[in-house]
């Protein structure tokens, strides 16, 4: 942590950490503690007075079926996003690590969507699936499916899941590919000499050996689906139709900025903070136990 050889204490180290600490205090710790404080308050209907109510906001949340439904929806959404993008990335990485000629080309062509902002990913997909003009609804019509994500809840959910998973494939692919390339060749060759074909080698050797990466990516993808997909939801569905795509992070925004329910929104923020802390702890525990081959 500290260098064995180091400089003596003086005023300098305080000056060095000052910018980071000031910004952290003003824009992170103070607002977060405000959110916590506000989550214990209820404002009256006219905004004239506030009352300290301890955990009443949380009790309201725990019995609010809109909130519980949003929780459930977020779980479904994030699991499907993670499964879809990780599955797709695993297949592509499994094939890409076999390639010698053109390996660089494939990697480049598969990682660039990382740089596309979530809201832009949403815009691209909402254009492709525009009910009157889009390419996909036009072809789906031939299959007898009428596509309109402005009216059909499950279709809206499917669209945001597709857009969110599309953007995340690049990230998962990169980490899977790196993990597969770090497996020693001798292990793979030994299996080949014993007569295991490519598919068998993949499932009995490569896949178990990269399981730490799978776990790491699972946590990262859950965090991504929980928090970073706000832009996609905002651009594609605005949480609708009805509330069928209102995930937790969208609900915090909507209740706070549109509904102006400060206490309720703050209580939701606190719940989200607890979730992030849990995910971060899981992620760091994993890093400490990283498996070496």
């Amino acid at each position: 942590m500290l260098k064995r050889v180091h400089f003596p204490a003086s005023v300098l180290p305080y000056l060095l950490v000052a910018p980071q600490i000031v910004i952290t205090l003003v824009f992170f710790i103070w607002p977060a503690s405000q959110a916590m404080y506000q989550s214990f308050l209820i404002e009256d209907a006219f905004g004239l007075g506030t009352e300290f109510v301890w955990f009443e906001n949380f009790q309201i949340l725990a019995t609010d079926h809109h909130y519980l439904a949003s929780f459930q929806r977020t779980a479904v959404f994030s699991v499907l996003v993670a499964a879809l993008s990780m599955g797709f990335a695993l297949i592509l990485a499994g094939f890409a690590q076999r390639v010698v000629r053109g390996a660089m080309f494939y990697r480049t062509m598969l990682i660039w969507p990382y740089a596309v902002a979530p809201v832009l990913a949403g815009a691209l997909w909402v254009f492709m699936f525009n009910p009157t003009l889009g390419i996909f609804p036009y072809f789906l019509e031939f299959a007898g499916i009428t596509w309109n994500h402005y009216l059909n809840g499950p279709q809206a959910m499917a669209l945001v899941i597709l857009a969110a998973a599309w953007k995340q494939v690049a990230y998962n692919f990169l980490f899977y590919l790196a993990a597969m390339q770090s497996i020693p060749n001798s292990v793979i060759e030994a299996a080949a000499i014993d007569g295991a074909g490519p598919a068998r080698r993949f499932w009995t050797i490569i896949f178990p050996l990269i399981s730490p990466t799978t776990f790491f990516l699972l946590v990262i993808n859950m965090v991504y689906a929980f928090f970073e997909t706000f832009g996609i939801i905002h651009a594609v569905t605005q949480g609708g139709p009805g509330t069928s795509t209102t995930i937790l992070v969208y609900k915090v925004f909507n209740d706070g900025f549109v509904g102006l329910d400060l206490g309720g929104s703050a209580a939701q923020s606190v719940v989200l903070m607890v979730l992030v802390i849990a995910m971060t702890v899981v992620q760091f525990r994993f890093v400490e136990r990283k498996v070496a081959y």
Binding site: V5, H6, A32, I91, T108, Y114, F253
Partner: protein
């Protein structure tokens, strides 16, 4: 490749090419939309092959007055705003993280670990979970509608601090000993030895943070109300809303294309640094 099987090799390339096509399809359709005129973009089925209005659309998007019937800043100004925000966020994050990592690794002073944990906590407080109170702080400081408001609240960084801490810990102790024998003070050591040694790490981190900064959405959306401060990424949402009245998809999709070209270019042109930055900051 372990063995030579022509059929498997063929299958491998087939799957990869299909994967590349599936990933590129949304952007291809966007590109095609930016090469047709408004009339063509309102007839289903939409074209799948480029037309020849690309330059016309580019010119109208960049320097025209935006979508008809809406009031917004010209797109070239939005691109400049985005560039300024991305550069301020990335250089700001790198600068303050370098300094705090240097202090934590190379100095022994009271509350050192306290500061370390305080920085660590920022990892657990993404902007999405503290939207309202952070907005209030920025409003009270009078930083709404300014570049400072766009960038400063986002530049505290636990990941960057950890990464530089990791880098500094691998620097041999002998370097500091010999520097001190030669009479160098802490700042001299920092600028003449540590900074040059961590050059590639800084570059790799810069690539990641530039993309992070450019793609900010929720934060600029909250704190900019003045159209002259709009960033290109947030303008897309306003255009999609306007599209319900005037569906000028050729212009909207040209804007989307312009919004993603800079970060995508950075990833492709600096691929090696990008991969290094991504794997270093997240593990």
């Amino acid at each position: 490749m372990v063995e030579n099987r022509p059929l498997t090799a063929f299958l491998t390339h087939l799957v990869l090419i299909l994967g590349v096509i599936a990933i590129a399809l949304p952007v291809w359709i966007t590109f095609v939309a930016s090469t047709h005129d408004e009339l063509r973009m309102n007839q289903a089925p939409l074209p799948l092959w480029p037309g020849d209005y690309f330059l016309v659309n580019m010119k109208q998007t960049l320097f025209g007055s935006g979508l008809s019937g809406t009031e917004s800043a010209p797109v070239w100004l939005m691109l400049l705003n985005s560039l300024a925000m991305a550069l301020m966020i990335s250089t700001g994050k790198i600068a303050i993280s370098l300094l705090s990592a240097f202090a934590i690794v190379y100095f022994k002073f009271p509350f050192r670990m306290g500061f370390f944990w305080m920085i660590f906590i920022t990892l657990m407080l993404p902007v999405e979970v503290r939207i309202l109170p952070t907005f209030e702080v920025v409003a009270n400081l009078g930083m709404l509608n300014s570049y400072w408001g766009l960038s400063i609240p986002l530049i505290a960084s636990a990941t960057a601090t950890f990464m530089f801490r990791q880098v500094f810990l691998t620097v041999p102790d002998e370097l500091l000993e010999s520097a001190r024998i030669d009479g160098a003070g802490p700042l001299r050591f920092f600028f003449d030895i540590l900074l040059p040694l961590s050059r590639t790490n800084i570059a790799a981190l810069f690539v990641i943070l530039f993309i992070f900064g450019w793609n900010q959405y929720l934060w600029p959306l909250l704190i900019t109300t003045d159209t002259s401060m709009t960033t290109i990424v947030m303008s897309i949402k306003q255009m999609l809303e306007a599209a319900e009245q005037s569906p000028q998809w050729n212009i909207i999709m040209t804007t989307a294309l312009l919004a993603m070209i800079p970060p995508v270019f950075v990833v492709i042109a600096m691929q090696k640094l990008f991969v290094q930055g991504l794997t270093e900051t997240d593990k």
